[in-house]
Amino acid sequence: MANEVQAPPFSHPRWQLWPGLVIGSGLLLLAGLGLGSLLQASGASDAGRLLAGSYFQNVIRFTLWQAFLSVILSLGIALPVAFALNRFRAFPGRALVLRLLELSLVLPTIVAVSGLIAVFGRQGWFTALLDAGLPGHGWNLYGLNGILLAHVFFNAPLAARILLQALETVPAPRLRVASQLGLHGWWLWRAVHWPALKPVLPGLAALVFTLCFTSFAIIMTLGGGPRTTTLEVAIYQALRFEFDFTQAALFALCQLAICGSLWFLVFRKRLDTAFMPNRQLSQPASLVRGKWFGVACGLVLAAFIVFLMTPLVAIAVRGLPALIPMNEPIALYHQLLPATARSLLIAVPAGVGAVAVALLTLAAANRASGRWLAVIPAMTGYLPLIVPPLVLGTGLFIFLKPQLGNPMQGWSLVALINGLMAVPFTLQVLRGPVSSLDSASKNQADQLGVLGWYRWRWLYWPILRRPIALALAYGIALSLGDFGVIALFGSPGQPTLPVLLYQQLGSYRMTEAAGTGLWLLLVLISIFASLSGVSSPSSGKGSGAIKPVPEPDHA
């Protein structure tokens, strides 16, 4: 008989189930509280008249229209890019291009927008080219043009990354068969590519739609007039300037209803999107290529890279002189360094919290049985996407009634909400790796009694170390770039980096804004660089890089 060991720490199933359930219900409660307290604070008022008003209908119409166009454009651009990246694996810098695509997820909106303005704005490079080649073109960045451009800038890379990942899950044997049969054109698409893309497309479209539907900072900077306002901005304006809680609550309910029913449809079909690759496949077979195929792929990729890079280059070119000033080097950093400290003070706890919540939620989702119990952890992953953070924040604010003049309370509130907002993204990064433990390993672990803390330490932690570092980087970065919640609670005298940038943009101190933008970009890159240094266990000793898992050799 093996020596009888004590039950491993935290091995009771409740440790997997309850924390996630508590967090999920807490989030639901928070959202309910936010809406409830808004409605309560608003008192009796005329909801029907508000909903029938032309302002409300204009806002709804514009929000839907721009989100719809953004989805079409983003997916339309992402699809050829993903194809080109899928078919061309051997060109130098492919890994860098993939990093560039991932960067778009965390690039603070306000930084990207300032880059886009530098390229496409009135005095931008692109506009200058257009002026020279096509006088009287009437291009104007502000309005629908700019909103769509910015949405494509953010969402096309994200969509391309997800589509590429879907294309890479085509099983190697199927590719070999297609290669041997010489499939090309329509039948290659029907037999190989479409089956791989079909399951992710609805979820992806819903994700892009939600991100554009709830877009805030882009609309604030590039749109903003009554003709180009989204619900999220209307909520902000109602809360911040008009103190009209009824209107804010009603708008928030509309947003919840529209995005919620969209996700409900996606869920009904049991579709899922994963943001990050979670498996490596063996060497793909080569497929039939047309004569111009390579040229077309190269052109698509080059155009897309130029589109993504020019705003970043513009930020760097304009920001460098501000960061390395000749005459008075201290003045700029007087503002930058405290703002960085404040940003990190909010972002690091938010990132850590987002990772912890994601892990507990995944544990609960794996453990939860029964229809209703399983809904709660699933909600945690999607609710933050569709509940306006401002509503959560305002609800908490009204509920907790923190003393004004104590910035710490406001900041911890901001950190909490930013953490929750990052959960859908950290969750997606971690979901694949958590479920990558196959049932054979789980059975083995059950038999050996590797449970609770021991299972986490010896089975999950080695697999999850790298994804956790990545998720942490995303969590911190998303929170670092946040401009939504902080705009409501932050005090203008003590800005975080994005608020400082917004203030500088707002007062037309463009050189300083460029410097702040570049600084924020550099902070983000250094966070990613330091956290991607975390190594996976198998690369630590002996073998070097992770090898693709070999197919089992049968008898």
Partner: protein, 204 residues
């Protein structure tokens, strides 16, 4: 004595039901043969507790074990493949069988090292499973099973697809265990394997 008493199982409500009635005396090896899909692996999974039966009982030494969790049952399984945790080195893979949190005494560490030596894997402790051949992986899996010193060993085609030399090493290891009084169930297609290892043969 391992007694399996009217054990019933079906994967889905309208699929065929399996019913098992077996007795294996202590220290003997029962070989089960039958075509693929005849329920060999199902039976072994039921004994290990990976599947739960619709009805019936399993007794070990007159104690019911079908109510226990997999980690509480006095059994160790070795499958045809996927026995090892791919992200842990050989030493940790074996060590987790002795203590599920890898808290090993010096003598247990020595036992692992000498076990590796005995099976021709001296110095392989720091290797990852991915760097081993199929035969080497099975030797590690079997070594872990033996070091667990559980009274029941469930072998689910553990030697299928291995070369004759590796088989010979594994046969020796299994037979030595049997001599120590371990009770075994062996699912196998292979005549030679059953002849070498089994005391009783049973057709499904």
């Amino acid at each position: 004595m391992l007694e399996i008493n009217q054990l019933c199982f079906r994967y889905a409500p309208n699929e065929t039901q399996w019913r098992f009635n077996i007795t294996v005396p202590k220290g003997q090896c029962l070989a089960i043969q039958g075509p693929s899909g005849s329920g060999k692996s199902t039976l072994l999974s039921l004994i290990a507790g990976f599947l739960s039966p619709d009805e019936g009982q399993i007794f070990w030494d007159q104690h019911p074990i079908h109510t226990l969790y997999p980690w509480q049952r006095p059994v160790t399984s070795v499958f045809q493949e996927h026995n090892l945790f791919e992200h842990l080195d050989v030493f940790s893979n074996i060590g987790l069988g002795i203590h599920p949190g890898l808290k090993l005494t010096p003598s247990q560490r020595k036992a692992i090292d000498s076990g590796l030596e005995r099976t021709g894997l001296a110095g392989f402790g720091a290797r990852m499973p991915g760097e081993l051949s199929g035969g080497q992986r099975q030797r590690v899996a079997l070594l872990r099973a033996l070091l667990r010193q559980q009274p029941i060993l469930l072998l689910d085609e553990p030697m299928t697809g291995l070369d004759p030399e590796t088989r010979a090493i594994l046969y020796d290891m299994v037979l030595e265990e049997k001599q120590r009084g371990v009770t075994m169930l062996l699912a196998s297609h292979d005549n030679e394997e059953r002849r070498t290892l089994a005391d009783i043969q049973w057709n499904l």
